[in-house]
Symmetry: none
Subunit: 316 residues, 2 copies
DNA sequence: TCCTGTTGTCGGCCTTTCCGACAATTTGG
DNA sequence: CCAAATTGTCGGAAAGGCCGACAACAGGA
C-alpha cells in the first residue's frame, strides 16, 4: 500500500506516457469498481460503519507477506470493533501498477448511543451503476509477443462500437482510457476462419506497458457517453515485499493499532487506506450489514468478520 | 499560429499518450528557449518594448505563406512603431506539432513621456541559464525506420548519465520529458566497431510520434535536477497554409492592425502571439535595444527592423 | 452423444528493429 | 596533408507481429 500521488506514471517500456504528479483528475468510479472486482463495495459517505483494527492490521500483514508478529504490543483500551462515522472516501490507483485502493476518513462515535447504533437501516444498496462491460482472463496467446488479443465474440458485440461489415475484413480503430486517463489505441478486426474478433496493433504495447502476464485480466467498460474504459485485474501473485522501502511490517501494524486507539480515546477522525485486492478480509463494514449478520449468526468476540466467498470471475 | 490549449495531444500512432486539455503545467522555460533556438530572447516582464504592427503583420503573412495583400486598408492613425509596457509573457507549445510560441500582453504608453522613453537602460540581459545541452540535426539514418539514433560521442558523454562500462555492451534506459511533460523512454547502448553511442528501442516511436524528418533537429537538455529534457526544432519547411481552417490571411492581418490601432488610441492593453520560428523578423523589441540601434545606424521611417543574422546551428 | 459455435495455439510470411562491417567525413596535429 | 577519431549507411540476422489453419473446448439438443 502506498500513499497517494507518491510516484510518476510511466506506462510502457518504449511508448510515450503522461507524467502525472499524483492524480490530477478524479478516478472514474465505474472503472475503479470494475478493477476492484465484484466483491468490493464501499459504504456510503455519511453512514455508520464498523471498523476492525485487527482486520486492518491483518490486511497490512497480508500485503507485506508476513504473519502478525508476536512483538506487537497490546492496546488494552482498544476494542476489537469501533463504530465510526464515515466522513469521506476518495478513490485512488497506483500510477505504476494500477492497483486500486481507497482512502477513508473515519470518526469513532459513542457506542452508548443505542439509537444511532440501531437506527441504521439496510444500507441504501450503494447502487453501483451497472454499465455494460466485460472481463477476460488473458491466455498465453493473448500475452505472448507472437499475436494479439482474442476478444470473446459476445463481449465484442456487446461492448465495442459495431463494425462496418461492408469492409473486407471489417476493422476499426478503438480508443480506451485507463484509470489514469491515458488513451490506448487498438486495431479491432474481425477475421480468420472461423471468424473472430481480435485486437492487433497496439495490443502488445498495452501488455508490455501494464506488464501483464497470462492469468491477469483485462476489463472493458462502455460508459454512458459511449466511451470505452479499460482496466486490469492482476492475478493474485506473491505480494511484493515493500517493507524495506518505507517502513517495517511491525512498525506499520503498531502504527495502525496506535492510531485507532488514539482516535477511539479522543473520538477524533483518523484515516485508513483500504486495498480491496490485497486481502479478502474487510475491516470497514456498514453498520447495518454488521447488525444483520449479528442477529442471524451470533458473532463472538475476537471472531473474524469475512465476506462471503463469491467467485471472482464475472462479466459473463 | 494557434490559440493555446486548442487540441488534445495524442503522440505516437500506437502508443499510450496523455490527454491534455490545454496545458495544465507551465512550460519549462529552458526547454522552450532550447526549442526556440539561440536567436530568440523575450523581453523581461515589466520592461518597455517597441511594437511594430507592420512586422507583426508580416510574420502572420509569412506563416500563411502569402505576401501582404494590397487590399489591406490603411490605418492612418496607426504609427509604424508603438512604445509599450510589457505586462505579461506566457510560454506555450502547440500540442500537435510542438511548435513554440509566446503570448504577450502589451499596453501602449505615451510617447511624449521622454523620460521613460530614454530612461530604459540596457535590458538586464535576460539571463538564459546556460544549462548543459546538445542539439543534433537528424540524418537519413536517424529518421529511417531501419535503425536508431546515432548519438554524437561528446554529446552523449556530456549530457547522458554515465554508462556502466562493466556491462558488455554498456547500456541503460534513458527517460526524457518533452514540452508537454510526456516521458519518452529510450535504450541507450554503446556498441559497434568502432564503438559509438546509440539510442535504439523507443527511438522510432519518438520519430513517428513527433513526425520528424531528416533535417529536423533534436535537443537534449540536462537540467539542474539531472533530469533529461527533450525537444525538437523542425527544419524550415513550407509553412502549412492554415488560413482555410480558421481565418483568411487578409482577415488576420486586418485584425492585427485594427487591434493595434484601437489599443494605441485608447492606451489599452492588447495581446499578441509571437512565434519565434515562423519568421526571422521580430516585432517586439526591448526599447533599450531599439534605442541603441537607433543611435548607431539611424533607422528611417518604414525601414524593417531585423535581427542580426546568426547561424542557427548550435550545441557545439 | 453429437453437432455447432467459439476460441486457443501454431506455422508461414512479411515487417520492424538490432547488430557489426565498412567507408565517408571530420578533427587535430 | 596525413592519421586518428567519429559517425552515416548498409547487409544480415533476429524479433515482432499479422494472417488463416486447425483443433480443442463448451454448450445445447
Amino acid at each position: 500500500m502506498k500513499a497517494p500521488g507518491s510516484t510518476t506514471a510511466v506506462a510502457g517500456a518504449t511508448g510515450t506516457s503522461p507524467s502525472e504528479g499524483g492524480e490530477r483528475k478524479s478516478i472514474n468510479p465505474e472503472l475503479w469498481y470494475g478493477c476492484a472486482g465484484p466483491l468490493v463495495s464501499l459504504p456510503p459517505v455519511g453512514s455508520l460503519v464498523v471498523y476492525f483494527p485487527q482486520g486492518h492490521s491483518e490486511q497490512v500483514a497480508a500485503t507485506m507477506q508476513k504473519d502478525v508478529d508476536v512483538q506487537i504490543p497490546n492496546y488494552p483500551n482498544l476494542p476489537w470493533k469501533m463504530i465510526c462515522l464515515l466522513h469521506n472516501v476518495t478513490l485512488h490507483a497506483d500510477p505504476e501498477t494500477d492497483e486500486v485502493y481507497a482512502q477513508m476518513t473515519l470518526q469513532p462515535v459513542n457506542t452508548n448511543d443505542k439509537e444511532a447504533f440501531l437506527a441504521s437501516d439496510l444500507s441504501p444498496k450503494t447502487n453501483r451503476l451497472q454499465t455494460d462491460f466485460f472481463c477476460k482472463t488473458l491466455t498465453a496467446s493473448d500475452t505472448s509477443t507472437h499475436g494479439g488479443f482474442s476478444v470473446p465474440r459476445r463481449a465484442a458485440e456487446k461492448i465495442f462500437p459495431p463494425l462496418d461489415f461492408s469492409m473486407q475484413p471489417p476493422a476499426q480503430e478503438l480508443q480506451a482510457r485507463d484509470l489514469h486517463d491515458n488513451v490506448w489505441t487498438f486495431r479491432h478486426i474481425y477475421r480468420g476462419q472461423p471468424k473472430r474478433h481480435l485486437l492487433t496493433t497496439g495490443w502488445s504495447l498495452f501488455v508490455s506497458g501494464k506488464r501483464l502476464l497470462a492469468g491477469d485480466s483485462v476489463l472493458f467498460i462502455r460508459d454512458e457517453k459511449q466511451q470505452l474504459l479499460l482496466g486490469i485485474r492482476r492475478a493474485n501473485r506473491q505480494p511484493t515485499n515493500i517493507s524495506s522501502s518505507v517502513l517495517s511490517s511491525d512498525s506499520m501494524q503498531i502504527g495502525i493499532l496506535a492510531a485507532a486507539a488514539h482516535a477511539y480515546a479522543n473520538h477524533s477522525p483518523f484515516t485508513v487506506f483500504y486495498n480491496p485486492r490485497a486481502s479478502p478480509s474487510e475491516f470497514v463494514i456498514p453498520l447495518a450489514k454488521y447488525n444483520k449478520a449479528i442477529y442471524s449468526h451470533q458473532i463472538t468476540l475476537g471472531m473474524r468478520f469475512r465476506m462471503m466467498f463469491e467467485t471472482e470471475e464475472s462479466g459473463t
